[in-house]
Symmetry: C2
Subunit: 426 residues, 2 copies
């Protein structure tokens, strides 16, 4: 039997999985490592946070996925990657050292707190399933605390929810909180009046959704205002202190017990040994037209972590699922048939965001539309992209249920249980 080159893929997101589906498992020995044992679906994290969906409905156990026809032959190793040693050609995870011949880095991004002191400890975030669950817990806890609080100052703080960042995630979570204010509070928290709840969306630039068309920005602004979300443009947060005081760069302040931070991402970091990647905006890894990390010949980067600039995308391809999927397919195809290698070019399929029930904004190439039909488009596209028939069915049923009941059963505050000290240590 011939020696099979060993490919290690870091990250089982959109990019990593699309690569694994396409790569020829008869030619290569493929191992994928991830710090989670499931693939998750970031576009719907905000619905986990707002209690619309269960985490399991938008997650897919990798071991199940790897039983499927397209993935058969891939090995899954659980563990967070710590170090990439380009000299020894190994990836070192929290549990083991894995040798590679070809490395695919598809590890995505994490929150960027821009060095604001203590921000990470104080804000809620939405970059992983666990973070979304925690955000849900925090929001629900504030409502319960406010329901039994008599002091008006404390009530105001408990009921002020500031969302920082007016990109798709910020717009979507603000919309979901607006719906909660409008439909849930009145019925379920008799001691809270909906007017007491303040949802504030803060954006640093002069418009929401600034990666989308101006028409989308305007429609999103209008829809959010209908949901009684206060939108503040041209505002940049400077600090958030232990007393709940948010200070903006222009000196204005707001007091809020809950800050949901969606204002920026930065590439996942690894310790590189024997190699120093180039510097790119957002900590991304610069790649050439074949998605090879510049300065290496056996390491590729795909998805949000890679910085791929070409004539069309002079500031780099956007950090979207579609880019990651197409890059994964392109790199796999080039490795399968090195003679027919083709450079990567992103085929833009458009972008969209939803704002509460019945409203969304969609940009498809030069076409923009919004409202109910955009909302249906948004749902259809997200359902199709979701992994697994069971998840598709569960999410669809949940959406239908919530649509007609204006409600959701998924509002549990899950207190943490004590962590056992696992006897075996590596």
């Amino acid at each position: 039997m011939n020696y099979k080159q060993r490919i290690v893929v870091i990250g089982a997101g959109f990019g990593g999985l699309s690569f694994c589906k396409k790569i020829d498992k008869s030619k290569f020995d493929v191992t994928i490592v991830d710090r989670n044992n499931y693939h998750s679906f970031p576009p719907l994290f905000y619905q986990v946070a707002s209690g619309g969906l269960e985490p399991a409905s938008i997650s897919f156990p990798l071991r199940r996925e790897f039983r499927g026809k397209k993935m058969k032959g891939c090995r899954f190793n659980y563990g967070g990657v710590r170090t990439i040693d380009t000299g020894a050609k190994t990836v070192i995870t929290e549990y083991e050292t894995i040798p590679y011949d070809i490395l695919i880095i598809a590890a995505g991004t994490t929150n960027n707190f821009f060095g604001i002191p203590d921000l990470q400890q104080r804000v809620c975030t939405l970059k992983s399933t666990s973070q979304a669950i925690r955000t849900r817990n925090e929001v629900l806890l504030r409502l319960e605390r406010a329901a039994i609080e008599q002091n008006p100052d404390r009530r105001r703080r408990l009921l002020t929810f500031a969302v920082i960042g007016g990109g798709p995630t910020g717009v979507e979570i603000a919309g979901a909180l607006g719906e909660m204010k409008r439909y849930i509070i009145k019925r379920e928290y008799p001691s809270i009046s909906p007017e007491e709840v303040n949802v504030i969306l803060v954006e640093g630039s002069d418009r929401l959704l600034r990666t989308m068309s101006e028409a989308s920005s305007e429609d999103a602004l209008r829809d959010l205002r209908k949901l009684m979300v206060e939108v503040r443009l041209n505002k940049t947060m400077k600090s958030y202190d232990a007393e709940g005081l948010i200070t903006f760069t222009d000196g204005e302040t707001i007091t809020a017990d809950t800050v949901i931070w969606t204002a920026g991402v930065t590439a996942e970091r690894f310790d590189f040994k024997n190699f120093m990647p180039g510097a790119c905006p957002g900590g991304r890894l610069p790649v050439d037209e074949y998605n090879r990390v510049e300065g290496t010949d056996d390491i590729y980067a795909i998805g949000d972590i890679s910085y791929h600039a070409d004539e069309v995308w002079q500031k780099g391809c956007p950090q979207l699922a579609q880019v990651a999927i197409q890059q994964g397919e392109c790199v796999a195809a080039n490795l399968n048939n090195p003679d027919k290698s083709r450079p990567f070019s992103y085929n833009d399929k458009g972008s969209m965001a939803t704002i509460g029930r019945n409203h969304a904004v969609v940009d498809l190439n030069k076409v923009h539309y919004s409202g109910w039909f955009a909302w249906i488009t948004w749902m259809a596209v997200h359902l199709i992209s979701l992994l697994g028939m069971r998840n598709k069915a569960v999410v669809l049923l949940n959406w239908i249920w919530s649509y007609f009941t204006f409600s959701s059963s998924l509002r549990l505050i899950l207190r943490q249980s004590i962590n056992p000290s696992s006897p075996v240590k590596n």
Copy 2:
């Protein structure tokens, strides 16, 4: 308007909710306090732990429940109870002080570790939703770690799961782990052989399910052995150390990285001020025939936390959902119509336990049966008892799905996210 007596109910379990449904809200002002914002369904915790069900499917947000007709008029206050001051007639929670005229204690039980050092930190438990989620995380984590472990000693430890306690919970979780060994490992963990997985069920007495009939004990033992669960009777655990060594009182030892502790419960404790409740087995509160806590005239205890002995149940009523439900109804009826007060007597509806797919044991009065029909009975009874149409539907669909696929999609290891320091402190 007449003064309404204020009733405070501690705990929204089976007892607390059955009381709230029955009590006349036009006569009394009713507040229920609970440390969780949802009612949960302990008989199915083991399925959360084994990945068969999502926590939300067996939990019901209390605020939703309180919108319903039967509950209308009840107030829900979120918070864990710390102190009961019988002098001031107040209940002090982590957030507030609530005055009462009549107090209903329905707080249930928690794990009893019988003073074994460090046990609480080292074992997995199943007495709450969060504990069940943690148990699931720990079991899945062991499998992932074993899948990449080369050292045979470590593999053995990682793949040994000891369940301590042969009551219904112990039998059910051991059965679920046996099914995992039999159906899931082979298909999803190619680097683990099912024979490497050891599931050991340890019981201190000479039979499993000792509150049920002897026929049930025997059937359960046979069914567990079919699932390749090693059952050890007459064994009592003495210690469990940081190296994974379990020592029994007879000197025997087993090494296991995972111990699931179902060996005992003890009543939830409160600080009582101005009152000292009598001592009963398991820390339960002794009550008279009207479920009034002995030594008080305005405090009742119902459910697992109460110790109600009568001629039939000389060692106290069993700690079962049915007892709690009937006590709640009885106390409510007596308060609604004090002239027609009747002492409580438990109408035994039988008990049951399930062992993997297609198998259960059922005791109904003097009738015992087991096997497939018992399993159908078990499912029907649990579905009927589950709160909420949506939950019933979701659980039923999940069961049907798992039955035909021998699988489950709910196998996510949810890593904890950093806990933010909530700015507002009480």
